[in-house]
């Protein structure tokens, strides 16, 4: 591998890692608060790409307006999924909630097939993003710069919300102890909704950029990235936002680098994620940045 191609792969790995990181955050935030894996998260991500598609091609919205609409609608969808599929089961056994999550995932996916159709659609990409720029003789598509930068901005905003605002404190308080949070006057339901909304909006930001990089849209588009991002969240230590980001980048980078250095095994690219997952779970079962859960008595 020449140094040029190495940098190309590096920029691809960074971009893919960013996308996994953005999706992984939704899994980890929801798990942190409800101890629940939101299996519909990949489908929520998928919907965001279609909202941009229809915004541009059907409603003739400017590209950037479609994106804002997509982020808002996707956030709302996350909130609705929680209300409809999880909240009624808040006090039920975990297995019921898990089944409901799987059901929600299939429901959204199949509705998407019925409504959007199974035939691939092409994500609208402004010409600007098709530019390829040369850096020191390495040609890199401009989206590969765009994606990590936007991801960084989104992460900084999210971490600011979680660590510095009163709402963020309430989220962390609810993740530790519902009842005591109520004794502070915190509405647990509202905080759960905000969590789903924020996590889904992060997935939408990822979805929009996914479309820029991989413009072929089908209703199953959310399944694999959703699964990979979930693995990334577990690798990083589920419940931990910075862990999800770390896991996302690690997974994206590993995936690209392995394919690049071993082109013969490209067909097995999805298997690497699982191998990495198993490896890390053996080495550190709580994930890279996860705390052991002993603290809660």
């Amino acid at each position: 591998m020449s140094i040029n191609t190495f940098f190309q792969h590096l920029s691809n790995g960074l971009a893919l890692g960013s996308l996994y990181a953005l999706i992984a955050i939704g899994y980890t935030m929801v798990y942190g608060i409800l101890r629940l894996i939101n299996f519909a998260h990949g489908e929520i991500f998928m919907i965001s790409t279609y909202v941009v598609f229809y915004g541009v091609s059907m409603f003739y919205l400017p590209w950037w307006v479609s994106i804002l609409v997509a982020i808002l609608i996707t956030g709302l969808l996350g909130i609705i999924v929680e209300r409809a599929a999880y909240r009624p089961l808040r006090n039920s056994p975990r297995i019921s909630v898990m089944i409901s999550a799987i059901g929600a995932s299939y429901l959204i996916q199949n509705l998407a097939i019925v409504i959007f159709g199974g035939r691939p659609k092409s994500f609208p990409i402004p010409d600007y993003f098709n530019t390829v720029i040369q850096v020191q003789g390495v040609s890199v598509p401009i989206v590969n710069f765009f994606i990590p930068v936007i991801t960084l901005v989104a992460l900084v905003v999210l971490i600011y919300i979680v660590e510095k605002t009163k709402t963020g404190m309430a989220m962390r308080a609810v993740s530790r102890d519902y009842e005591t949070a109520r004794l502070m006057g915190i509405s647990v339901d509202n905080i759960v909704s905000i969590t789903f909304g924020l996590g889904s909006m992060m997935a939408a930001i990822g979805g929009v950029m996914w479309g820029l990089k991989y413009p072929n849209l089908i209703p199953l588009i959310g399944t694999m990235p959703g699964l990979k991002a979930f693995i990334a969240a577990v690798i990083g230590g589920i419940g931990n936002i910075k862990g999800a980001v770390l896991g996302g980048f690690l997974l994206g980078m590993t995936e690209i680098m392995i394919i690049a250095s071993l082109p013969d095994v490209t067909g097995y690219r999805d298997a690497f994620a699982f191998i990495l997952l198993i490896g890390i779970l053996i080495y550190k079962p709580s994930g890279l940045l996860g705390q052991d859960i002993g603290e809660k008595v």
Binding site: K166, A170, A173, L183, G185, I186, E295
Partner: protein
């Protein structure tokens, strides 16, 4: 300020509270003493609507609050320091205090209360940036009390605030309870240290297996033969 009449609470088939009636007037310190499992915590939890009574009525500021949401009670000045601290161990000391004031809007009043809490518990100020989970049990108990004060309580329910504190600090806590009361906060207190509790109380109730079996002025109960035998170790 609060009047409970004929309260009955069940945990599944267990009849934990069997017709409790009690009242606290504005400005008083009232304590609730009794053996383990008597139903003291359940009574306070029912006031906060964390438990659903099957029968009975709770009037707070002349309103029936039996079905009011906990959030609205906190907003209205009814605040509980729960049994066993329950500070948010993953948050810093200061963040815990800020959450105590979660529903309040007046930044200046909040800052004043924060200063007051830090004055009552200088230790909390020293540790303000430290994670609450890394504090000692006694320090966490102080934090739980401080956090409740940040909610600007009118009626403060305290469930064993001296639990796990060293004897010297227990004295401090009771001094602090008196100071809080002097600021105009009405207090309903559960205590295992029956003697000290009765000394600072205007009125007291003794609970046994879900019933109030005795009540009276704090000073009178201190002299009561049954109370002496059962709770004062004399």
């Amino acid at each position: 300020m609060i009047t409970i009449s004929d309260l009955h609470v069940y945990y599944g088939g267990i009849h934990a509270i069997r017709g409790v009636s009690l009242a606290v007037s504005k400005g008083q310190i009232v304590s609730l003493i009794g053996a383990n499992g008597a139903g003291k915590s359940t009574t306070l939890r029912s006031i906060m609507t964390l438990e659903k009574p099957r029968e009975g009525r709770i009037l707070y500021k002349d309103k029936d609050i039996t079905l009011t949401r906990t959030t609205d009670l906190v907003k209205d000045g009814l605040v509980l320091v729960p049994e066993g601290r329950h500070v948010f161990t993953n948050l810093t000391v200061e963040e815990n205090l800020i959450l105590g004031a979660y529903l309040r809007k007046n930044a200046q009043a909040i800052a004043e209360d924060m200063a007051w809490v830090y004055q009552l518990f200088p230790r909390l100020k020293e540790r303000s940036r430290q994670r609450a989970g890394t504090m000692s049990g006694g320090e966490q108990q102080m934090l739980a009390v401080g956090r409740a004060l940040m909610s600007s309580p009118e009626l403060l329910l305290m469930d064993e605030p001296s639990l796990g504190l060293a004897p010297l600090i227990v004295k401090d806590i009771f001094e602090i309870i008196k100071k809080i009361n002097e600021k105009g906060v009405t207090i309903l207190l559960i205590e295992q240290n029956a003697k000290v509790a009765l000394e600072i109380s205007d009125y007291a109730y003794v609970m046994e297996t879900g019933n109030i079996v005795l009540e009276g002025k704090g000073r009178d109960l201190l002299k009561d033969e049954n109370v002496k035998k059962a709770y004062l170790g004399a």
